[in-house]
């Protein structure tokens, strides 16, 4: 409480300074360290992305102040989102969102802050994914696996993250489209998901191509489908789900930047300007390539529409999956 009492006058002062200066300048420039909120602990996907971007922005000299990553993990994304919401009007705080920020409030009653309550800034990446099996598995393509799953309903298993993660939602969609049924086993850490696949305890897994790449090269894994509109450049021989006759809506895994509610327009414009320039740098292109991300750059009304569509789609998918949708 004390903290906020100090922050509030500063925030108010910042806003008044900016608006009084409007007549001759519409520029916002950060004047102190920028608090960068992520919903995972150190080492999680969002954490690594935020830290990499903080570093690359500085390398390209696109921001004058340091981005300080703050881990607000817990409750899916609820802790981080409510923290951002508390920072209403704060000009020196941003957050890194993922699809979880959309799905988590849909299923968790306590997660009262939704993506609608925050200020979208930019979407930066879309993460492609593939479906992998162990290299010595009998399944050479999706048909092999689906047939086996139909023959032995609920005998095969998939390892993945939480039940609201993209992995599980894709499973539910494919099950519905094909009539096959198999189990989903949640593991909180990516390491356990992969080691259970490599150990033969589960049969398939949705995995990022970057994570799978070395396992494929070492002859440990085989990829049987790409989860995207088109084939991946790095795995040109792997057909998409659609090519294999499974026509299901694709759930994008998006990552990007959010601001607290009620921040002045100038602040959003400032960040849009920064990322407009950042998106075109060779450094960023190289980072995308290293991690096999797709450039998902999107801002403004397009981004708001993206969130609206995704929220509606997720609500449907979750309902059909039998999850308790609370809002």
């Amino acid at each position: 409480m004390k903290n906020r009492a100090i922050l509030l006058p500063i925030a108010v002062a910042a806003i008044t300074t900016v608006s009084s200066g409007l007549a001759w300048s519409q520029e916002f420039k950060p004047s102190k360290q920028i608090e960068t909120v992520v919903h995972t602990g150190p080492g999680g996907g969002s954490d690594l992305l935020a830290r990499a971007i903080a570093e690359l922005l500085q390398k390209e000299k696109l921001v004058s102040q340091r981005l300080q990553v703050v881990n607000k993990s817990g409750g899916g994304s609820a802790v981080a989102m409510s923290y951002l919401a508390e920072k209403k009007g704060e000009t020196h705080t941003i957050g890194f969102f993922t699809g979880v920020w959309v799905t988590n409030p849909l299923t968790t009653a306590e997660a009262t802050v939704t993506i609608k309550d925050l200020t979208p800034v930019v979407r930066l990446v879309l993460e492609p994914a593939v479906i992998a099996v162990k290299a010595d598995s009998p399944y050479k393509n999706m048909k092999d696996f689906i047939d086996a799953a139909k023959k032995n309903p609920k005998q095969l298993a998939q390892s993945g993250g939480s039940v609201t993660s993209r992995d599980n939602l894709m499973r539910l969609l494919i099950q519905k489209a094909t009539g096959a049924q198999w189990n989903f086993i949640s593991f909180p850490s990516g390491g356990e998901r992969l080691s259970n696949l490599l150990g033969g305890h589960v049969q398939i897994m949705v995995i990022e191509p970057q994570e799978a790449g070395e396992q494929i090269r070492a002859g440990n894994l085989r990829v049987i489908a790409a989860l995207g509109e088109k084939r991946l450049a790095s795995l040109p021989n792997v057909p998409t789900l659609k090519e294999q006759g499974i026509d299901v809506p694709l759930i994008p895994q998006a990552r990007g930047v959010m601001a607290p509610p009620g921040v002045p327009r100038e602040v959003v414009q400032y960040w849009e300007g920064v990322f407009d320039r950042f998106e075109k740098t060779a450094t960023w292109k190289q980072y995308l390539e290293q991690n096999q991300f797709e450039d998902g750059y999107l801002k403004g009304p397009g981004l708001s529409k993206f969130f609206d569509d995704l929220t509606a789609q997720m609500r449907e998918v979750l309902k059909e999956a039998g999850a308790k949708v609370v809002r």
């Binding site: 881990n71 968790t108 609201t164 850490s189």
Partner: protein
């Protein structure tokens, strides 16, 4: 011979002045981070990762790994001196370490912890060097049923944490298990026991709970005893501040036990150093000739868990470097680092970049020596803190606790939780409930429940899956045997009494 040739290559990398310098920086930073409760190696490495981008990758991983295993050395310091666990893997160290400090043997406890860390840390590197690939393949055989059995085995250690009453220990453990269920359920994404509190969605922070129960609870109990009585005795003279030859002899088995358990558990991606430290403590007490000393200041009770959490650091690097699979937060950041430095972590990493792997291995041998040389002279220095009068010491303990707990998540809520758990710790001490049993339940509860439900998902609800698989079956049998120990002891002492009476 191959390993020897490779190791020579590794030393050629590690002994360059630059790498030696950064190895030293890494282990010093690690020690500092370990000593300070709260801020852990994961957060530190994440913060420093950007600085390493301009370094040679071998130098970078040598420095960051130094922080990782260096923190395990420092973790024992506040556990022993102030009953504040510096890292979650040092919780068990509080049990006997703090008692030793109260008996004026803080120096011996700190010293033995540094020595155990050195021995086990070195064994961990040896293991990483010699048996990493086959061990990683073996670890892949651990699926949810095996983890469940391992967690049950861990819970069986409650037998060795119980004081006079087994019932009280079991009750405390159950409360710990319940505390672990607070938060968001991974499987259904629903919240449990959060009472509408957003801040509880992420569960009870482990550091806040342990620091509260151990440090704050202890301070509260001590405040009751009025009068300026000295709480700590402290031996005069430097020699009395270090472990004696007898101490070293007493810890022979603990060194081996900690090294082996720590390394093996470390190589399992789903377990962790805290589990390893509890297991090695239990084993130590089970095979001890004077189990009654444990909890009242047994030097082996410090050596075993402190060794285990250091060997664990070597073990944790096994799946990371041989398969590209991170087992925990810290190794996940190292994985992120490897990608940023331009490597592709995976099964081919060692083969294609031998200088990186062997450079790291060699640097860890050097780092462990550096840590011992650094830490031993610090022992008498740190022990001086106990000369402080209680009216300085207690505020100091509370201050360090608050800062430490706050620094984990920058959350005042966690500080309040710490206060609440402090009160709980006080009440438990008053009613003679073993606090460590509660912590044990809290550490293992999450993994136990998860593994059980994952196993049942694998078997379609058939519970026999837990006992019919070879590894889990054996582990469960051992756990049952341990749980029967108190009964066997009781029967035996009853027989002895009867025979004596008749004689």
């Amino acid at each position: 011979m191959d390993a020897l040739g490779n190791l020579l290559l590794g030393f050629a990398v590690a002994l360059t002045p630059v790498n030696l310098f950064w190895c030293l920086i890494g282990v010093v930073l690690g020690t500092v981070v370990g000593v300070l409760p709260g801020l852990g190696p994961a957060a530190t490495i994440a913060m420093l990762l950007p600085l390493t981008l301009k370094m040679d990758p071998a130098t970078a991983i040598i420095a960051l790994a130094g922080i990782f295993y260096g923190a395990r050395y420092g973790g024992s310091t506040t556990s022993i001196l102030l009953n504040i666990p510096g890292e979650s893997s040092s919780v068990v160290t509080c049990l006997d370490g703090y008692q030793l400090a109260r008996q004026g043997r803080a120096g011996a406890a700190l010293g033995i912890s540094a020595i155990a860390s050195f021995i086990a840390g070195t064994v961990g590197v040896l293991g990483l060097m010699l048996i990493a690939p086959p061990l990683a393949r073996f670890a892949l055989r651990f699926a949810p049923p095996e983890y469940f059995a391992l967690m049950v085995l861990g819970l069986a250690m409650v037998v060795f944490l119980a004081g006079d009453s087994m019932v009280k220990a079991l009750l405390a453990m159950l409360v710990g298990l319940w505390l672990a269920t607070i938060g968001t359920d991974l499987f259904t994404a629903e919240s449990r026991f959060t009472f509408g509190q957003v801040k509880l969605l992420g569960g009870v922070d482990f550091i806040a709970a342990t620091v509260g129960i151990f440090a704050i609870g202890e301070v509260l109990v001590n405040l009751e005893s009025r009068g300026g009585a000295e709480i700590f005795k402290l031996a005069k003279g430097l020699r009395n501040l270090l472990p004696t030859l007898q101490d070293l002899k007493d810890c022979r088995f603990a060194f081996v036990n900690g090294s082996v358990i720590g390394f093996l558990i470390g190589a399992l991606p789903g377990a962790g150093a805290t589990v390893a430290s509890f297991l090695s403590y239990g084993i130590e007490k089970a095979f001890s000739r004077h189990p009654e000393r444990f909890g009242a200041g047994a030097i082996e009770g410090v050596a075993a868990p402190e060794g285990a959490n250091n060997a664990d650091a070597g073990g944790a690097l096994v799946p990371l470097l041989t398969l590209g699979i991170p087992g925990g937060n810290t190794t996940a950041i190292l994985l992120g680092g490897l990608i940023l430095w331009g490597y592709k972590p995976g099964p081919l990493l060692i083969q294609e970049h031998p200088q990186l792997f062997w450079g790291l291995v060699a640097s860890m041998y050097i780092g462990n020596v550096l840590l011992l040389v650094l830490n031993l002279p610090l022992v008498p220095l740190f022990a001086q803190i106990l000369r402080l009068p209680y009216y300085v010491l207690y505020p100091l303990i509370i201050g360090i606790s608050i800062v430490g707990v706050y620094s984990v998540n920058a959350s005042l809520f966690d500080v309040w939780m710490m206060g609440l758990f402090g009160l709980l710790g006080y009440l438990m001490r008053k009613a003679h409930f073993p606090t460590a049993a509660l912590i044990l339940g809290m550490v293992l509860g999450d993994g136990l429940e998860r593994a059980l439900r994952q196993s049942l998902m694998m078997s379609q609800g058939d519970i026999t899956i837990l006992a019919t698989r070879p590894i889990s079956g054996v582990l469960l049998l051992i756990a049952i045997a341990i749980l029967c120990l108190p009964t066997i002891r009781k029967v035996r002492s009853w027989r002895v009494e009867t025979i004596e009476r008749e004689g």
